[in-house]
């Protein structure tokens, strides 16, 4: 998550002081990502150094400085909003590695390993869902941030379910005699081993 660009976004609403930025940042992310005040001031100094934000005050005390966004900063913000995060490389996922290892070890019940992780993640999801139970207690930013986390965890559960089903089929069902389709699909998608 980019603190730098989030601060620029807040400054695009109008000039603000550092302590105010910290408060508004936490509110705008539904207080899901707490921020320490040091991070705010360090980031503001860098924004100023790079010409993306400006402070009119000559005060030494960072808390007293009022910052505003520059034209270059506005351009940078518009560019960042439209730049997709790099999702092209699959992350090195620890859970995937654990399930892959479990599926190869002779004395390990891979389904039991999958279930341990599935239960843990569903429990995490229960905790997040519990937070949004009382609709009067949350604002839209909080709901969006919680939804994002729930969808992310849900994807992990779905992967575990898919892994479970795939391993089950591979173990209990006979493989097709002529698996000719696979190489041609591979060629078409351009995937290499």
């Amino acid at each position: 998550m980019s603190i730098r660009h989030s601060l620029l976004a807040l400054l695009s609403e109008g000039p603000k002081y550092g302590f105010q930025l910290r408060q508004e940042f936490e509110m705008s992310t539904g207080e899901v990502w707490p921020l320490n005040v040091g991070q705010v001031y360090t980031t503001l100094q860098r924004l100023e150094r790079d010409g993306l934000a400006q402070s009119d005050d000559v005060e030494d005390d960072e808390r007293q400085k009022n910052y505003r966004i520059t034209d270059k900063g506005s351009e940078e913000l518009a560019h960042w909003l439209r730049t997709p995060p790099d999702l092209s490389e699959p992350p090195r996922d620890e859970l995937v590695i654990k399930v892959l290892v479990a599926s190869r070890l002779p004395n390990v019940d891979v389904y039991e390993v999958i279930q341990v992780h599935r239960r843990y993640i569903v429990q995490l999801m229960q905790q997040w869902t519990h937070l949004k139970e009382d609709e009067s207690q949350f604002d839209i930013a909080f709901a969006l941030a919680v939804d994002a986390e729930l969808f992310r965890l849900d994807a992990v559960v779905r992967w575990l379910d898919a892994a479970d089903g795939r391993l089950h089929r591979a173990t209990f069902e006979v493989a097709p005699e002529n698996p000719v389709a696979l190489p041609s699909i591979r060629r078409r998608t351009g995937a290499h081993r």
Partner: protein
């Protein structure tokens, strides 16, 4: 006392070499006011478990009790009465009667149970209003959106003094926002004292439950621990078994 109790419940279909165990040796207890989700892949026995819990099917072995009453040995009529009065069902595809308006659909189970039409309609109307559908009461199912139809189905399931709500993939093909609304309604019924069992393969829906039971090949293999408080969530030392 549990609203629903299953003890060592098994169900098998077919005979001899063709015998298949749909569920085996399931113990499940659901208290009033609590929401239990049953998760598992297709064919794990989720729906069988629900039909047995709702007395629509009999277990091959084991015992089912609804509100303290043993289903085994009950006459068909007694079971039908228990179903009408105590058990509400919500299905994936809503199962509303197309020729009846929303309020007629909701009040039908009461009328079948001998409640006068006037009283039944009043209760049906109250249930619809409780789910924010008062202004849609005179509409037929095909005049309602998918989300509204499912709300009518939930109103029908909780109308009267029903105390056990059984739902099979209740968000069906609804999008996630409508799916969440369905779970909020079921949860709110639970806060009013209803015991609910929701069968789903969707972890987002299951996460609304107080307890999630995992089914695999007809057996309950695992379940979640009791929910922690929000304070524990904000504590970085959440135990991680991984």
């Amino acid at each position: 006392m549990s609203m629903l109790e299953l003890r060592h419940v098994s169900k098998s279909y077919g005979q001899g070499a063709n015998e298949v165990d749909a569920i085996s040796d399931i113990d499940l207890s659901v208290e009033r006011g609590s929401l239990v989700a049953i998760m598992g892949p297709s064919g794990s026995g989720k729906s069988t478990l629900l039909t047995i819990a709702g007395s629509l099917e009999e277990p091959t072995t084991g015992e089912v009790m609804i509100d303290g009453a043993r289903l085994a040995g009950m006459s068909r009529n007694d079971k039908a009465r228990l179903r009408r009065r105590s058990v509400g069902y919500v299905f994936q595809d809503f199962n509303l009667l197309a020729g009846l308006t929303a309020v007629e659909n909701v009040s039908l189970p009461l009328e079948l149970d001998g409640v006068s039409m006037k009283k039944a309609r009043a209760k049906g109307m109250a249930a619809l209003e409780g789910l924010g559908l008062g202004d849609r009461a005179a509409n037929y199912p095909d005049q309602l959106s998918g989300g509204e139809r499912q709300r009518v189905a939930i109103a029908r399931a909780v109308v009267g003094e029903r105390s056990l709500l059984l739902a099979d993939e209740p968000s069906g093909a609804l999008d996630s926002v409508n799916g969440e609304a369905v779970m909020r309604m079921i949860l709110s019924a639970c806060h009013g004292g209803v015991a609910a069992v929701v069968v789903t393969h969707d972890a987002k829906l299951a996460s609304w439950a107080d307890r999630v039971v995992f089914l695999r090949d007809g057996k309950a293999v695992d379940e979640t621990l009791p929910p922690p408080s929000p304070e524990e969530l904000l504590n970085p030392d959440v135990p991680n078994p991984a």
